[in-house]
């Protein structure tokens, strides 16, 4: 025991006070894409300055997520996860056999269109977007015709999907960037975004333009007011739009989309919007949003004047120390450029951390050239502490899309970053670095949901994990980030809790009974099974 006054004086006297603010576990990453067998770059001219995404999903039903990575003008690649639990991350490149090579890909999102046993992919392209229908064992077939899906001819950079109430097939939203064929392109020539709702047969034979659109780079269905109806949030790039702003579309529960505007309290915000992430920092059911941009990252929460039909947001990035507006190391003080953004608990301390991929667009002189990715670690007081350098992810590469995933099933989240014109970075999370090696963080829980025959992966479901007085929530989503998405086990840090109660609000609004589960397990919750099952990875 030490009297506290002694400690206070020590801290005040220490010149390293600012560095010692973060007292929790800093995750230690090592880049091992070469060991993992991933040799891939996202390359190409102007159309590929943006995009550069990846999809993480299980294409061979072994519950170890595999990877599809965009290549820009180069072919996209598929990597099958061959990792063993707790070991080095390894992948095996596999041809997308049925389809042959696919190029002009900007990003991809996993989605199960037909509710069968195999995950499908929505592949975003410069040109026609492509549904790849999973056939099992990581093989795919082009399936636009199968689903009567018109892939368009736009420059697509974002995607989101949701099963609207009572629908057996998902509603799709596509974020499109610049209409490169329009006169005056690229400035002020934004392509319309598209909403594609399935018809009664489950086909997509009519696409609905979302006009106006403002050169969008990310799009996400979100239940912003916790009413069970998903609306559509869009982030837009001010570099090319004229008179544009950030958007929230009211989908009117399956009705005609309408923009929220000033009459609804929606405040005009103009940024270089590039990525969207959501989490529920205060577990009130209404998510907070991180919007990556050039310069300040936005961290938005509903204002106290907001109501269920009044989406009034305020930015709290500054008060939470999450602006991440310029490089945190080096001597380049120019604004940085943010892309993929994602909340996740990288050190299992129960507090959401915020990852932001960073990287100059392409020799933009007014923005930082060396721009390391951010790892903003959540603090007990709700603020964030930049630990990207200490964590080992500050490589001089131009990040774009990213995947946060526990690739080797060791209970710690790893990180894949798709870089422009440079190799993909694969960071294995080794845990807490000590003098005697690496040790685990706090406890964790990984949750997989099995919905019924419609929407098998329970997209739109809300997971509540309760430990003590703390409730963590997570909405299963397809969309957001920057051209990158994932489906599979959902990771929760449990800190010092040995056990947790989990409840699910299924996509149709039904609540599950509480599931009682022990920490440090991969838990599968089947809607039709009152008991949780545990899954154990191969070792």
């Amino acid at each position: 025991m030490k009297p506290i006054f002694a400690l206070v004086s020590l801290i005040i006297a220490s010149p390293t006070f600012a560095q010692s603010e973060f007292l929790g576990d800093v995750p230690h990453f090592v880049e091992q894409s070469e060991i993992a067998g991933i040799n891939h770059q996202y390359r190409g001219p102007f159309e590929y300055f943006v995009g550069g995404g990846a999809a993480s999903f299980d294409c061979n039903n072994d519950r170890m997520n595999d990877l599809f990575i965009a290549g820009g003008e180069m072919p996209a690649k598929l990597f099958r996860n061959t990792s063993k639990a707790g070991q080095d991350i390894t992948f095996s490149e596999q041809p997308i056999s049925v389809t042959g090579e696919i190029s002009k890909v900007t990003g991809a999102y996993p989605i199960n269109f037909d509710n069968d046993e195999h995950m499908d992919l929505m592949v975003l392209r410069v040109g026609q977007n492509q549904i790849l229908r999973g056939l099992g064992n990581c093989t795919f077939a082009k399936a636009n015709d199968h689903f009567l899906f018109y892939g368009g001819d736009a420059w697509t950079t974002g995607f989101s999907a949701i099963w609207e109430r009572d629908a057996t097939n998902p509603t799709l939203a596509f974020a499109n960037y610049i209409d490169r064929d329009a006169p005056g392109s690229p400035w002020g020539t934004c392509e319309d975004n598209v909403l594609a709702r399935p018809n009664a047969d489950g086909n997509y034979d009519q696409n609905q333009p979302l006009s106006p659109s403002f050169c969008s780079l990310s799009i996400m269905f979100t239940d912003w007011n916790n009413r069970g109806n998903f609306d559509l949030r869009v982030t837009n790039d001010r570099q090319y739009h004229r008179g544009g702003y950030e958007q929230l579309w009211n989908l009117n529960s399956g009705g005609r989309p309408e923009q929220f505007d000033a009459r609804d309290g929606w405040q005009k915000l103009i940024i270089w919007g590039m990525g969207i992430a959501q989490t529920d920092l205060n577990a009130d059911g209404r998510p907070e949003y991180a919007l990556s941009s050039m310069g300040d990252t936005m961290l938005q929460t509903l204002d106290e004047d907001a109501e269920d039909d009044r989406p009034i947001y305020r930015d709290m990035a500054y008060e939470r120390a999450a602006t991440a507006h310029r490089p945190y190391q080096g001597d380049d003080l120019k604004p940085s450029t943010g892309w993929h953004t994602e909340f996740a608990d990288f050190n299992n301390d129960t507090r959401p951390d915020l990852y932001i991929a960073k990287g100059n667009v392409e020799r933009m002189p007014d923005f930082a050239e060396i721009d390391p990715d951010n790892l903003l670690m959540g603090l007990p007081n709700g603020k964030f502490s930049e630990q990207g350098g200490a964590a080992g992810i500050a490589l001089p590469r131009r990040g774009r899309g990213a995947i946060v995933e526990d690739f080797n099933a060791d209970g710690m989240l790893d990180l894949l970053v798709v870089n422009r014109e440079e190799p993909v970075s694969l960071f294995r999370n080794l845990g807490r670095k000590t003098d005697w090696g690496y040790t685990p963080f706090g406890n964790f829980l990984a949750v997989e949901l099995r919905n019924n025959d419609v929407n098998r992966n329970a997209v739109g479901a809300k997971i509540s994990v309760k430990t003590g007085n703390l409730t963590q929530t997570h909405t299963v989503q397809i969309g957001g980030g920057h051209a990158s998405g994932r489906l599979g086990f959902i990771h929760f840090g449990l800190g010092v809790a040995e056990r947790a109660q989990v409840r699910i609000k299924w996509p149709d609004g039904d609540w599950s009974q509480p599931y009682r589960v022990f920490a440090n397990n991969f838990v599968v919750l089947d809607r039709d099974d009152p008991d949780a099952k545990y899954w154990y990875p191969a070792r």
């Binding site: 025991m1 929790g24 449990l494 022990f518 545990y534 154990y536």
Partner: protein, 472 residues
Amino acid sequence: MKTVICSLIFMFVGQQSVAQSTPVWAEKTPSIGAIETIPNGLQSKTQLEQLREIGEALFTAQFTDQDGAGRPMATQAIIPTKPRRELRQAFARTSGMDANACSSCHNQPFDGGAGGFVANVFLSEGFNNHEFDTTDPEFSNERGTNHLFGAGLIELLAREMTAELVAQRTNALSKARENGQATRVALVTKDVSFGYITAMPDGMVDLTELDGVDTDLVIRPFSQKGVMTSLRQFTVNASNHHHGMQASERFGARWTGETDFDEDGYADEFSPADVSALVAWQASLPAPTVWQPSDNAWQDAARKGAEYFDDFGCTSCHRTALPLDSLHFYDPGPVDAAGTLNKHDVANPAIYDLSQLDWVNSLEQNEQGQFMVPLFGDLKRHKITDPENDLLGNELFSQRFVGRDIFMTAELWGVGSTAPYGHRNDFTTLDTIIRAHGGSAKPAKDAYTNAQEEQRSAIVAFLKTLRIEVAE
């Protein structure tokens, strides 16, 4: 004894104490911080004895405000939890803090022992309604104080059983994956059955046939419910709950961002080394023994009672002894989850070779060379009530996922020294607590109640020979 402890503490603290000029009459506990670094590696008998001395001093210390006792801004919860406002009073017999020293309750027949009804503890999770001021079971579960003699052997048994169960699960999964077929296996360790699991080829495990163990297959041997993994975890929990002495390994900056989580003005009240000393002392407390009464009639009755105890089926749960492979007690141990130090959190765990302790010589060994731990228990949970007999179903809250009518088999070693009985300490005789058994114990209880008076008396005679004989 106290003189020895003081001398030892001064030996550890040495010049530092002199330099700080702390007067010997200071209202502080000198054994706190007596060792500055957590012990590591195999400890010699002398080193273990020194640790035990410190541990005993901590166990019997009356913690003071100046030690950091009190938790004005922390509840009794095992997960660091702050109340909405400062607790109204430092001590509360109900919600705690409720004891000055560990030995305030653990003292029958010696320090480290059990407690009478007056030393019952009121358990709530400490999250909601944490500041209750009533003994009404609507607010808490009331529990008697268990003794700790032989606790090191209990934890070692639990660790070995956990490892065996986990290995059985791993083997089942390997077979299922290899054969492509569901594989149902019986979970049995040390001849105690814990039901079945079914492993699927895809790595899924069906847990619905588990019996008496948590779904993670961790044997948690401590507390009446069997929900505490280790002496270390129990020590960290109890230090906060009962004394407001917060161990940094759970309440410290790594997890809470604060060094003084309970906001009483004292940082890092218990270091990992302090906790280690407490664990070392508890883990090396001698095991209870079977006492030989001088009275011939008692001897004869006890001998017959032991036979009846077996014949009536009591030993189906109150196993006479369980075999233990190793007497090496690692601390921190292998099983604890984050929030209690485990072996990964230190460079080199301490190893206490319990065979160095004289009392261990009394343990019998079987043909395989295993040490037979005479605990009269099975480290398994059982349902203990039924519709005809719900005397032991008097709790309203499940605890950590364990139903209100389910309890860990009480280890009966030492029961002859630790009256009263039952998880609430509200049975004054062995006869009444035996008759209170229901549920899975009903056949044995029926055999007892249907037996002749002489047979029942013999069983009582036998149980009264299971005593805690010497403190050291």
